[in-house]
């Protein structure tokens, strides 16, 4: 098991996985999302090869209403 932080919450996951595999576990249209790991945006084209590792701080964001 490894421990990561997703959107400020500590989460335990089986093992290291790609960003794509991580997003497969959530129920949100992936084109509505952007992912940041340790304060750096992960470009969409890197989802299949960027590995989420123990201790990573992951942010998954979308767009909401705002002024």
């Amino acid at each position: 098991m490894i421990e990561i932080s997703i959107n400020g919450q500590t989460v335990e996951i089986e093992s290291e996985m790609t960003v794509e595999q991580m997003l497969d576990t959530v129920d949100v249209p992936p084109n509505y999302l952007a992912v940041e790991i340790n304060a750096e945006v992960v470009p969409r084209e890197d989802y299949t090869r960027h590995i989420v590792r123990n201790g990573d701080h992951v942010e998954v964001v979308t767009l909401v209403g705002g002024g």
Binding site: V35, V41, V61
Partner: protein, 297 residues
């Protein structure tokens, strides 16, 4: 609501005119973007997504702001705003609202860009930069805003900078590479209108002095339609507002009012107001009057 009538059905440009106000083609040009409406509207604070969609439609705007927030990852029934925005119609303008330092604002801008790139929306190359300095007034932090503006401009963003009505800060932001400086009329969501029109006049004069086409957009503080007209009459190129529509008793009707106020204010500015005079000047001829005057005057 029918919004087929252009909100900026202004007279055609006179290409030979030397006065900047006479070279108007009716569109708002910011960075590489051309907007047919001079009003940018926010998408926050509506009771429902449907009410937001209908209000945006009635406003006649073709550019709307959105915010970047953490996804509630397991909300199966959650509505997403993107299901209620026609991305072929609206250019999205992502903001950095809620950020209190340059580092976080730059992160939010880059995340917004990533989503818009994926969506294929033209708004992917710009951002409304907002770095707050105080949570009660929501007034901006000028130092952090300048730092973030420099960083984002260097990173290829067209930066539209929310700022106070301070003319010196406005100049600093333009120097920092802002594609548009967006002074507040009054605090965000306060509905107080334009508290210091003289400062806005100075900002317009300073930023357009050697650069008459430089876009200045009044952002925040609008309470009702006359505030919008006033901003345009002062010479603002655009107005950005949200709460004045979203929290009106009838948001769709207020959106219509704002659309007309935009047209009226911009026309009035281009037409040129008459000077204010202490005494009256008669509109009817003074000859052939059948009446005598009192006091022999």
């Amino acid at each position: 609501m029918n919004s087929s009538q252009s909100p900026t059905d202004l007279p055609a440009a006179d290409e030979n005119a030397t006065d900047a106000s006479q070279r108007d083609d009716g569109h708002l040009h910011v960075g590489g973007h051309t907007l047919s409406s001079r009003m940018i509207v926010g998408t926050g604070r509506y009771d429902t997504m449907e009410q937001m969609r209908d209000s945006l439609d009635a406003s006649g705007s073709d550019c709307v702001t959105v915010a970047v927030r953490r996804e509630r990852l397991y909300d199966r029934n959650g509505q997403n705003i993107l299901d209620f925005l026609d991305l072929d119609r609206y250019t999205l303008l992502p903001n950095t609202a809620g950020c209190y330092n340059a580092t976080d604002a730059v992160r939010a801008a880059r995340l917004g860009r990533e989503i818009l790139k994926t969506l294929g929306n033209p708004g992917a190359d710009w951002v409304k930069l907002e770095v707050l300095g105080d949570s009660r007034t929501l007034l901006p932090d000028p130092v952090q805003t300048v730092i973030a503006c420099e960083q984002l401009a260097a990173d290829g963003f067209q930066v539209l900078c929310y700022t106070s009505d301070c003319p010196v800060t406005a100049k600093r932001l333009k120097d920092a590479g802002a594609a548009s400086v967006m002074p507040a009329g009054s605090p965000i969501g306060s509905g107080q209108g334009l508290l210091n029109p003289n400062n806005l006049r100075i900002i317009l004069e300073y930023l357009k002095e050697d650069d008459p086409q430089y876009p200045v957009i009044v952002d925040a503080g609008v309470g009702t339609a006359s505030d919008v007209s006033e901003a345009f009459e002062l010479g603002a190129d655009g107005v950005l507002l949200n709460t004045a529509i979203a929290h009106a008793r009838d948001p769709v009707r207020m959106a219509v009012a704002m659309r007309h106020a935009t047209i009226a204010g911009r026309h009035a500015f281009l037409a040129g107001r008459i000077p204010k005079r202490l005494y009256g000047t008669a509109s009817s001829p003074s000859e052939g009057i059948i009446s005598t005057r009192p006091y022999g005057t």
